[in-house]
């Protein structure tokens, strides 16, 4: 993980300051992949479960990294937590995304929840509830690309790409090639 951020050329645009560029994101994901393997002592029984929307491509990238290191494929899945959110009543409803886990299910697996930005912790709370309706994993861990602080629940990440101290008034926007056409984390 890069020790410090060098300001990028497109710094200071209307959408804020770039704090992670494509290279930084790639390096952070490689490091997290290694951490997951180290912690799990290999790729056995591992299931990387991406949270919609941007956790899903991140989980796939971690799986590719792990496959490159270990030479084995790692199971991935997607989890949608819409129906489990505690703020359903304060928004108009929207259709949930796909929830998909491999045929073997989650029972007995080491499930690593993968999300883009960890903030209040409420999404992860919802994800843990959703996960328990799918089965009983042996262990659940959490990997996030950015931890911006301001937790409202007793939740912490096991693997963090970048700790990003922010004010509540600031906006962190994370963009990925798969969903937004480029890899970038900005703060505004």
């Amino acid at each position: 993980m890069p020790a410090q951020q060098t300001p990028k050329a497109h710094d200071g645009t209307a959408s804020g300051r770039v704090v992670l560029d494509a290279g930084d994101i790639s390096r952070a994901l490689i490091r997290i992949s290694h951490e997951i393997l180290e912690r799990n002592k290999g790729a056995e029984d591992l299931l990387l479960l991406g949270l919609h929307t941007r956790g899903v491509p991140l989980a796939r990238r971690l799986a590719e990294n792990i496959a490159a290191v270990e030479g084995t494929t790692v199971a991935t899945g997607e989890l949608d937590v819409t129906m489990y959110r505690d703020d359903l009543r304060s928004h108009p409803t929207r259709a949930p995304h796909r929830t998909q886990v491999p045929a073997g299910g989650v029972d007995g697996k080491t499930v690593v929840l993968v999300d883009d930005v960890l903030y209040s912790g409420r999404t992860i709370r919802a994800a843990l509830d959703a996960l328990s309706d799918l089965g009983r994993p042996a262990v659940v861990r959490l990997a996030v690309l950015v931890d911006r602080g301001h937790r409202e629940l007793p939740i912490r990440a096991d693997h963090v790409g970048k700790n990003l101290p922010t004010a509540r008034s600031e906006r962190v926007s994370l963009r990925l090639v798969e969903t937004d056409g480029e890899d970038e984390v900005r703060i505004a």
């Binding site: 949608d80 129906m83 489990y84 359903l88 009543r89 304060s90 928004h91 108009p92 409803t93 929207r94 259709a95 949930p96 995304h97 796909r98 929830t99 509830d129 309706d133 799918l134 089965g135």
Partner: protein, 310 residues
């Protein structure tokens, strides 16, 4: 999304597509060991049925329960409605108990809409007289979309007792919004009065000749002959109806291979649909039933789970 679901007119094409997307997810939940989502936890839904129903009522009941709502069934038989209480008093009494949603079936066309003007909670029409049955049309559209992909340009034949059919009225609206073309087939006595002008504005065709329509159809929806709504004289004998308008074994043979056969149930086997057709490999009658739960979960979720729309 709409506050009440009284008619397919309340929904835009985008709304219908969103209901289908959610229903597809609900369909997956139906396959799980834990068939429960917490989206309506703490909410109460009342099924208020003034007409007999098994599948629609139990479908709504299961849908509500799988979303963690408390579902209470009230049927007119054995309720104070049979002691002479007015519809308005029954509805106001029930809602005063603190319900969050009302699913209503009533024998009078327009009952659901009338009720929605009296009370302040979302009302879902589960069939009103010979007017509409929107969730049935949604589940039919959803079933067809799963079988055929996009319905844009697809040709659906709706056959049977159209005069008395709220399923027909909801379906032509829903199928039109999904881009399908519809041919309504019925004997002249069971074709709704004034259908000519109506079909021109709503954009569907009518025919008295089932044999001419079947080879062209991408899907066939057989509707029940509703004897309980008939006072006689619509057709000479059941046998004659079957010869002219039943989906018999011979007529199965003229369908294009893979043409889905729908029936909203309950089926009069041997009258409008033969056992061969009801149990045919392309019959999707049971798919409709399981789609019914998924679609009703989706509707309950979209109407009751989110921010209140006034």
């Amino acid at each position: 999304m709409t506050r009440h679901l009284l008619s397919i007119d309340d929904l835009s094409t985008a709304d219908i597509e969103q209901i289908f997307t959610t229903a597809a997810e609900m369909h997956d939940v139906q396959q799980r060991e834990v068939k429960k989502l917490p989206a309506l936890r703490g909410r109460t839904v009342i099924n208020l049925f003034f007409e007999d129903s098994t599948r629609t009522r139990s479908s709504f009941e299961i849908a509500g329960k799988w979303l963690s709502a408390d579902v209470i069934n009230l049927s007119a038989k054995g309720s104070s409605a049979s002691k002479g209480e007015s519809l308005r008093d029954t509805v106001l009494t029930v809602t005063a108990m603190g319900v969050d949603g009302l699913v209503v079936r009533h024998g009078a066309s327009g009952a659901a809409e009338q009720i929605s003007r009296w009370i302040d909670v979302p009302v879902i029409n589960a069939g009103d007289g010979t007017h509409e049955h929107p969730t049935q049309a949604l589940l039919d559209g959803y079933t067809l979309t799963r079988k055929l992909g996009s319905l844009e340009g697809k040709h659906v034949a709706i056959v049977g007792d159209l005069t008395h059919s709220r399923v027909f009225r909801s379906n032509i609206k829903c199928l039109a919004k999904l881009g399908a073309t519809v041919t309504a087939v019925a004997p002249p006595t069971l074709m709704p009065a004034g259908v000519g002008d109506w079909s021109r504005t709503a954009g569907f065709a009518t025919s008295y000749d089932l044999d001419a329509v079947l080879p062209e159809a991408d899907a066939v929806m057989m509707l029940r002959v509703q004897r309980e709504r008939m006072s006689g004289g619509f057709f000479p004998t059941a046998r004659e109806y079957t010869v002219g308008y039943g989906l018999t074994r011979d007529r199965l043979a003229v369908l294009k291979p893979g043409t889905p056969i729908l029936h909203p149930g309950p089926m009069n086997r041997g009258l409008e649909i033969s056992a061969d057709a009801a149990d045919a490999i392309d019959s999707v009658v049971l798919d409709q039933v399981s789609a019914g739960v998924a679609v009703r979960m989706s509707v309950l979720y979209h109407l009751l789970a989110g921010e209140e729309t006034k």
